[in-house]
């Protein structure tokens, strides 16, 4: 077995990044009917889902400045209070497709709500974006994720039924682009 660098060239050919290697991308365009507020759901082969913004979301467009992010989604519900314990993740808040995860306030006065888009239990929210909101815009598909959601085992296939594949999403984007022309 060669243990020197001689096998390098093969593996160094363009390797897909972590996200592409292990996750399937799903899209929810116009979340809750709000035009262009697209979400992306990264589903790991182990059924864990990571909720992120999608490319076309207004927050990722040029010139948007985020002022504040809040996981307080109502007077008596904060996603920061979510605590899970044990392998079975006891105590998790249960989310439906339209459950809000957080609200994002921009310096131009706009306010956006990010939704779960899938049914499942809330495992964690990304607290790093509270201190550093620009992560959301710089690395939306990695360190700028919003939350981690675990669908029920028996629903791990069906939770993504209402979502679009990457190809379908690209079609939506090109149609949208053509309309605005």
């Amino acid at each position: 077995m060669a243990e020197d660098g001689s096998e390098r060239p093969a593996v160094m050919a363009t390797v897909p990044g972590v996200t592409e290697r292990y996750f399937t991308r799903w899209y929810k365009p116009d979340a809750k009917g709000n035009p262009c507020e697209d979400h992306c759901i990264l589903q790991h082969s182990n059924r864990i889902c990571v909720i992120t913004l999608a490319d076309a979301h207004p927050l990722l467009q040029k010139g948007k400045a985020i002022e504040r992010i809040s996981y307080q989604i109502s007077a008596n519900c904060s996603r920061l209070q979510n605590k899970v314990s044990g392998k079975s993740k006891r105590g998790a808040q249960f989310l439906t497709e339209l459950a809000p995860l957080c609200r994002i306030f921009c310096s131009d006065g706009e306010e956006y709500t990010i939704y779960s888009c899938i049914r499942g239990r809330l495992i964690e929210v990304n607290e790093s974006i509270l201190d550093n909101p620009s992560l959301l815009q710089q690395k939306p598909y990695s360190e700028g994720y919003i939350a981690v959601v675990l669908p029920k085992f028996e629903e791990s296939k069906s939770v993504t039924q209402g979502l679009l594949t990457r190809k379908e999403y690209e079609e939506v984007l090109s149609k949208r682009f053509n309309c605005t022309l």
């Binding site: 077995m1 660098g5 390098r8 059924r47 864990i48 314990s85 392998k87 495992i123 992560l135 981690v148």
Partner: protein, 530 residues
């Protein structure tokens, strides 16, 4: 000669009337002389009659011929008042039996149902040994375990109640536990016979177990009245065929009062037509453990079979490539693989390899000479270039603990091939070499989060050493605390491991290859094979 005292006479006679065999009579008279039980059945019968008739002038040899059933009839006629406490005895049953048939075989004992008669004799032992010898087992001693049908306890109890009453008359204080237990007497007789047939001694600590299960369907219903009398003892259990387990019956017999027992169980019970039969004879060898270290040279080989939703994801596994040869050599029924940690399917394990141990369940072979073991190791190594093993050896069950103990405190060395998004110079990665005892906060990686609790664990990277390859690649050698997730340290896992390679270098990084260079566990001991 037969070790019965004058005071035992009335009890012996009473048991004979009950339909007990000589050995059961000795048991109830608390005779503990093992040699006596081993003597031929006919001799015992003859001498018992001599003893009981010793006031008469009849010749003992004449008495030896008739089976005890006939004797019982005769004595029943003589002392009817004494032998039927509940007046239920029906001698007519026995009278109907043909006398010719009785002469061929002794009547089946009404207490042990033949266990201390033909079922402890050479022919039976020979039949069991034939089964043992045909099964290829390697053993140097044996432990014999036997299971009797539960109704034997009921019959034993019935006989005991009679004896107890008689003892009370004689002002003797004897407990049921003082009797010689059926199982004990059975082993006294049968162990020497096994020694003779198998050539190895019985040993309670032996790992080779011969187990025999006796049944007696004819009298299965003997127990049934107990379910009504002691309902609480008979709870249906999921995995039991019948509620009448031996344990439940024994417990019920402890609880039931003597009057209730007499009301429900005919005493003496009707004589059985046939003795017990051995319905199951099993041999099992205790598990043995084979340990070693393995190298894994493939990035498409999982450690254990990778099966999702019943579907196999990858051909073969480390576990299978090693175990199939052990299974064939030791002829075991099954195996259990364990190891000091595990690597991902795409990770190689190089260096001295990873310690592992395989439990072989019910092996036919239990010993392997050093050169045979070496040959076995060679066979494994010749069969696949994906896995190689070394230091293959038989170990004790206790020693397996060394492999698992202090796994957390151990260090592991890795080599990782890393890609960087931005172009790098040698100087850019040199900072890594100066970092010592770097503490990481690692959230449970997303890739295992579905089956492990969410937690933040602190892990330490003791040292790092980088080797520059080109402007987008370098190799990193790491020495880390066991339990550190290396892949997550490199790519950051959505920023969930902090710091990570990206944050240390100020650029996105990814891991292309990972090898385990060493697992620092000093077990199993190295063998000088080379």
């Amino acid at each position: 000669m037969i070790e019965l005292a004058e005071k035992d006479k009335s009890i012996a006679q009473m048991l004979l009337n009950f339909g007990a065999c000589p050995r059961c009579i000795f048991r109830f008279c608390r005779v503990e002389l093992q040699a006596l039980y081993r003597r031929p059945y006919k001799e015992l019968l003859c001498e018992l009659h001599t003893f009981l008739q010793s006031n008469n002038n009849e010749s003992p040899c004449e008495m030896a011929q008739p089976p005890c059933k006939r004797i019982r009839l005769e004595s029943t006629k003589e002392d009817t008042e004494e032998q039927t406490p509940n007046g239920s005895h029906q001698p007519t049953n026995a009278e109907k039996d043909g006398a010719a048939e009785e002469n061929l075989r002794p009547a089946v004992c009404n207490v042990c149902l033949g266990i201390l008669q033909e079922l402890c004799e050479t022919d039976f032992v020979k039949a069991v040994c034939q089964k043992i010898n045909s099964s290829e087992y390697q053993f140097s001693s044996f432990v014999f375990s036997v299971s009797f049908p539960p109704q034997l306890s009921v019959r034993e109890h019935a006989a005991w109640l009679l004896v107890k009453e008689e003892m009370r008359k004689q002002d003797l204080l004897v407990e049921k536990d003082d009797l010689v237990q059926l199982k004990e007497a059975y082993k006294w007789i049968i162990h020497p016979l096994f020694l003779e047939e198998l050539g190895v001694p019985a040993d309670g600590k032996s790992l080779f177990e011969v187990s025999v299960v006796f049944a007696h369907p004819e009298t299965d219903e003997d127990c049934h009245f107990l379910a009504v009398a002691c309902r609480s003892c008979f709870k249906p259990a999921k995995n039991k065929q019948s509620v009448f387990t031996r344990m439940a019956v024994v417990k019920a017999l402890e609880l039931i009062d003597d009057d209730d027992f007499h009301k429900n169980f005919q005493c003496p019970p009707s004589s059985p037509k046939t003795p017990c039969t051995a319905v199951d004879i099993q041999c099992t060898n205790g598990a043995i453990f084979v340990a070693g270290r393995y190298n894994k040279y493939s990035r498409t080989l999982p450690q254990t079979p990778w099966i999702i939703d019943g579907e196999r994801k990858m051909e073969s596994s480390v576990e299978e490539l090693i175990s199939e040869h052990l299974m064939a050599t030791f002829k075991a029924d099954s195996f259990n693989f364990s190891s000091s940690g595990r690597e991902d399917v795409d990770v190689r394990t190089l260096g001295n390899g990873r310690p592992f141990a395989i439990e072989l369940v019910n092996p036919r072979r239990v010993h392997l000479a050093a050169d045979e073991m070496k040959a076995l190791q060679q066979t494994i190594n010749n069969s696949s270039d994906k896995v190689q093993v070394r230091d293959l050896q038989i170990v004790t069950r206790e020693a397996i603990g060394h492999m698992k103990e202090g796994e957390e405190g151990k260090t592991k060395s890795y080599s990782a091939l890393i890609w960087t998004e931005k172009e790098i110079q040698k100087e850019d990665i040199a900072i890594l070499d100066s970092m010592k005892e770097l503490k990481l906060d690692q959230k449970t990686p997303l890739r295992v989060l579905h089956r492990r609790p969410l937690a933040v664990r602190v892990r330490v990277i003791h040292t790092m050493h980088s080797e520059y390859i080109d402007e987008h690649h370098f190799r990193l050698h790491l020495k880390t605390q066991a339990g550190t997730y290396i892949k997550e340290f490199v790519h950051g896992d959505f920023g969930r491991t902090k710091p990570n390679m990206g944050s240390l270098l100020g650029m996105t990084a990814d891991i292309l290859e990972l090898d385990v260079e060493s697992v620092d566990v000093d077990w199993p001991p190295a063998l000088d094979n080379e």
